[in-house]
Amino acid sequence: MVNKHLIGRILMFLLLFLVLIGGLLLVFEVKKKNPETTSAPSGEIPTPQTTQIGSESRWATDSAVLEIESNVKSISQDIDAVELKESKLLPPTLDMEVKF
């Protein structure tokens, strides 16, 4: 009886330990997927606003204008990020002169 009780307790501890490890690994996995971005400063200097912002015109809240603004900003980001070099896919350097 004592032995059974002891085995039950050991099993319980083992399971609790597994839950704890599983939980910890999950937390690490979530952190890995969503890395904190606020901790390291980017070092980038914000671009000064070139346009003199005056009072809003009646077009400032126009849905079409807002949509265009959002689209143009999204394109601007894509243009900055576009890969134009493809240097990883340049033809490899191989020995083409096999002679003895």
Binding site: K33, T51, W59, A60, V72, E86, D95, K99
Partner: protein, 272 residues
């Protein structure tokens, strides 16, 4: 405590199952191109190892001229030639998948490039099989020379495919910029019809359109530079680099056009 046992069991299995699922999803997110690229890098490393062994065996054979050294040189050369074919095959596969994942490629160009790449991958497969049938170093040298002759056309195909990929990206971006330019033009027309003074906006729009047009010209220039590369051209890479500079200029003009569009939108919102 015993009543808690099923709950603890459930939690334990749930945590482990979720964790496993996380790993499976993460692995599945790796694109076909990424996998092909990793295969290519591995093949290239295997080729480099085999090339080192080939050099060592060749030097030994040339120094001692023994039968044993000859056999070792034969085996090392055969291994290196096979790895060279495998490396090139995996390179062309990675290039093919890069082409596949790039959007906005016109069907004709896409299909033609696929056909060419598939044909070269097939040729390399046959060539690799022929290496197995070689019985002497002379046989291997002859088989190797077939690829040596073929390689310039493979290089050309690679540069042409890279050009198609980069052009497709630029075309896609320019198309999006043009669509938004048209939308802004429509909005300016509407503003004009409602009595707004849009002279400044129209002038800025003309400037933005000029940038888009110059971007297109620069891209055509880049495409022409790639088209002019000849099979036996010894400076293919420098010609391709020149084309890349034109692509970058094309992209720069597109950037400037977008920056004008942002200013125009700001003017519409706050300047009227």
């Amino acid at each position: 405590m015993r009543k808690l046992l099923p709950i603890v069991c459930f939690l334990g299995f749930f945590s482990i199952a979720t964790l496993l699922n996380c790993y499976i999803v993460t692995n599945a997110q790796t694109s076909d191109y990424q996998k092909a690229y990793q295969d290519y890098i591995s093949s290239l490393n295997l080729y480099r190892d085999s090339h080192f062994k080939y050099q060592t065996a060749k030097n030994e054979y040339l120094a001692y001229r023994t039968l044993n050294a000859e056999t070792k040189a034969f085996e090392a050369t055969r291994e290196m030639l096979q790895k060279r074919d495998e490396g090139l095959q995996s390179y062309l596969r990675a290039l093919r998948l890069r082409l596949e994942e790039t959007t906005a490629i016109t069907n004709y160009k896409e299909n033609l490039s696929y056909l060419k790449l598939d044909s070269e991958i097939g040729w390399l497969s046959i060539h690799k099989d022929s290496i197995r049938g070689a019985s002497s170093i002379e046989d291997l040298i002859n088989i190797s020379s077939q690829l040596e002759e073929k390689y310039p056309s493979l290089e050309l195909l690679a540069y042409q495919t890279l050009g198609i990929i980069i052009s497709a990206r630029e075309n896609s971006l320019r198309e999006r910029v043009s669509t938004q330019t048209e939308k802004i033009a429509e909005k300016i027309n509407q503003m004009k019809s409602e009595g707004e003074n849009v002279e400044k906006l129209q002038r800025w729009m003309a400037e933005a359109k000029k940038k888009i047009s110059t971007s297109s010209e620069k891209q055509t220039e880049a495409e022409l530079k790639i088209k002019e590369i000849e099979v036996n051209d010894s400076s293919k890479l420098s010609s391709f680099n020149e084309a890349q500079m034109s692509y970058e200029q094309s992209n720069q003009y597109l950037k400037e056009a977008v920056s004008y569009l942002i200013e125009i939108v700001e003017e519409v919102k706050y300047g009227q």
